[in-house]
Amino acid sequence: MDFSLSNEQRHWQETARKFADEEIRPISLERDAIETARETWDWDIIKKGSKLGFRTLAVPKEWGGHGTDFVTQALVMTELAKADSAISKAFSQNWKWSHLISKSCTEEQKQRFLPPFVADDTFVLGKGITEPGAGSDNRLPPDDDPKAGLKLKAERKGDEWILNGEKAFIANAPVGKLFFIDARTDATVPLRQGTTMFLVPHDTPGFRIGKVFNKSGWRFYQNGEMIFENARVPHANVVGEVGGAVRKAGGQGGDTTGGDIFGDLELAANGLGICADACETAMRYAKSAKQGGQVLFAQQNVQLQINKMFMLTETLRSFVMRVAWEHDKKIHSFNAGLAMNYSTYVVQEVTELYMNVRGADGCRMDHHTDKLCRDAIIWTHLAGDTVQQMKVARRLAR
């Protein structure tokens, strides 16, 4: 057992910490307060971060990226999220799909898509799975019901596929340049067998972005509607085999370091950043704010709440780093999913404890405290609801 970081890992952690402190934190609350969902995104911070490598962190070195390991990625996500969880996610969302390109795309596809992605500071990636009528059904598809799950239809016509349908809540949809889109290529078989993944550039004819969803938390990070009306995608953009989308996303346990498994680590590492922020701010507040002539920290109840905040946060940190390390060592494990589930409990408990320590100031609540609680609530449907828990339990049972 060796918990020490390499020089390279420490370098990335420190670079991320500096960028988070100097660039992200100063704009975090300002971006959160923007009322119009479509306007919360800030290209300046994306460009600045991109120049430091935070957009292309997970692209292999031979393709011009930084080729960092999972431990580094976890460290960076946590540091960035400590300043703003949604901005951290805006960067790491690109890593999630960089992993997918590296693992699942052909050399020809990599050649077409990776160099433009690496070269352009405003090139961000996304993936469309969820639809208005299919959320949980995509995560836990019932084996016996071909009707359940996503319905976006793709039909082959010569060298092209014609896509028709709608996606909802798709991260980075309003800002992305390239998307992985899951579509039904065979509606007569269950989701796992009948779904194909396509690479769809944002300027594909017949493809457009609809509304931007107005979320209570993660304001910076945009989710949008995708509308496909006879959108034409070349056959050369099929990722993997026709009918193989779900397997490619890592769902079948073959490739445990692919997109989906990174996604589990990602949410846990990002949540850890929120917790670290809450712990640090709570401690600072408790040691400076006074009640009855003494600092709050003088009170047993405040000490107990802060103890619990740190206890949960450091437990999550241990789990996150272990999962990252296991990925790097290619150790087959289901811990990523468990860490993701666990992070939901921890991030919500820790932010609520933080709000307890902080308290309301008369008829006002500190904006930062409120934001952390709103951001933490996002974990429920992404990482810790009953479907996500059962999904991990079923992986364990295999």
Partner: protein, 412 residues
């Protein structure tokens, strides 16, 4: 005897309100532009109707022209209104509560004659008590079980002018109902007298400025007052017992649990929305309601809501029957505070469970679930918070008496 069978009047009240909420309030309040937690503006078009249902004068005695509802009825009504809209419920329950304290108990006959007719007549006439100032700290906190006086530092002053009128100077903060109030009871120090007194200040008094808070972390309209040589006639001073009445309603821990009733109403609305949705949303080949995981969550939510209501109704009944404390039918504990803490913690969990049923829709600002989660969070973190309330309960458990206390002990 404590009896959970509601009277025909109570049932009628509840059903009338429930129906009104379904027909009139929800269609307005559940529109996308009304469920943004940052916009707490009230639907003015509905307020007169709510008043005409008797909600402003609910607790005021029948003799004085009110409904004369007891504490339990007030809680039932507040829960129903809050299930429609927490801000409307907060506005009316505060006016109703203060109407009873001010007109039935605190005012002299002359004061009542001066203000009551306008209060009864005008559907837009609301009441507010201004006792909080910036920096006011009523937390027990570090002074738990310590013989330190927890005196609020009131800086607002009331001085006699040469013609006998009162001149008030100072600032008040976080005054519930302020933007809608036509009459304030303002706490001030009176030169040459110990402690503080309350002065009746009409909203149109010269020298009074009311500023509405745009996004308060509270329910109902809220604002601050600036009193600059604010002049009111000599007979607007409330007598000394008014201070006790106004303070006791908040601090005794044995008052009417209106606030937890409001909290309950919010979570019930979330729960009902989730129960409806669980029956129509199909995932996994069947309605959500037929999945163990969702069923258990909704059962947990129902448990929290029912237990909270039991605690609230018990406390409400107890506040109407102080003799039940006296003869030891009830424990010597602040049942109102106990109901508030349990409800605050349980309803946030209830609202989070309900929101989970909606998946991503549970966090969207144009859907009501995020508002219910926010609103229950506001309830849990209103005032001094649940942690401080537990210390007050603990002082009651150990029968702690603060020697120089200006506030009544929790269980008194």
């Amino acid at each position: 005897m404590y009896n959970l069978q509601l009277s025909p009047e109570q049932l009628e009240f509840r059903d009338t309100l429930r129906d009104f909420v379904e027909r009139e309030i929800k269609p307005v309040m559940l529109k996308a532009d009304r469920i943004d937690v940052r916009d707490r503006s009230l639907p003015m078009e509905l307020l007169d109707q709510v008043s005409q249902l008797g909600m402003r004068t609910l607790a005021l005695s029948e003799d004085r022209g009110g409904v004369g509802a007891d504490a339990l009825t007030c809680c039932i009504v507040t829960e129903e209104l809050a299930a429609g809209d927490a801000d409307i419920a907060a506005l009316f329950s505060e006016t109703s509560r203060l109407g009873h304290v001010l007109f039935d108990q605190a005012m002299t006959d002359a004061q009542r004659d001066r203000f009551l007719p306008a209060f009864l007549e005008n559907d837009g006439f609301h009441l507010a008590v201004a006792d909080r100032e910036t920096g006011t700290d009523t937390r027990l906190g570090v002074n738990y079980s310590r013989p330190v006086a927890i005196a609020r530092d009131v800086k607002t002053t009331a001085a006699k002018a040469s013609d006998g009128a009162w001149l008030l100077n100072g600032n008040k903060d976080c005054v519930a109902n302020a933007p809608f109030a036509r009459l304030f009871a303002v706490e001030a120090k009176v030169a040459g007298a110990p402690g503080t007194r309350f002065v009746l200040v009409p909203a149109d008094a010269a020298g009074l400025t009311v500023r509405a808070h745009e996004r308060p972390w509270t329910h109902g309209p809220c604002g601050d007052l600036v009193l600059k040589d604010c002049r009111v006639p000599a007979d607007h001073l409330l007598d000394e017992k008014a201070g006790d009445l106004l303070a006791k309603a908040d601090m005794s821990g044995r008052g009417n649990p209106l606030f937890p009733a409001l909290n309950l109403g919010i979570a019930r609305a979330a729960y009902e929305a989730a129960v409806d949705y669980a029956q129509i949303r199909i995932q996994g080949g069947r309605p959500l309601a037929e999945h163990q995981a969702i069923a258990t969550k909704l059962a947990d939510t129902a448990i929290r809501i029912e237990v909270a209501r039991a605690a609230i109704w018990q406390a409400a009944w107890a506040s109407d029957h102080p003799e039940a404390y006296a003869d030891r039918s009830l424990p010597d504990l602040p049942l109102q505070t106990i109901a508030q803490v349990f409800t605050g913690e349980a309803m946030l969990e209830a609202a989070k469970h309900a929101a989970e049923v909606f998946g991503a829709m549970g966090v969207m600002r144009d859907m009501p679930l995020q508002k219910y989660v926010h609103d229950t969070r506001v309830c849990l973190h209103t005032g001094n918070g649940a942690g401080d309330a537990k210390l007050r309960i603990a002082e009651a458990i150990f029968r702690y008496r603060r020697p120089s206390d200006t506030m009544p002990r929790a269980a008194e």
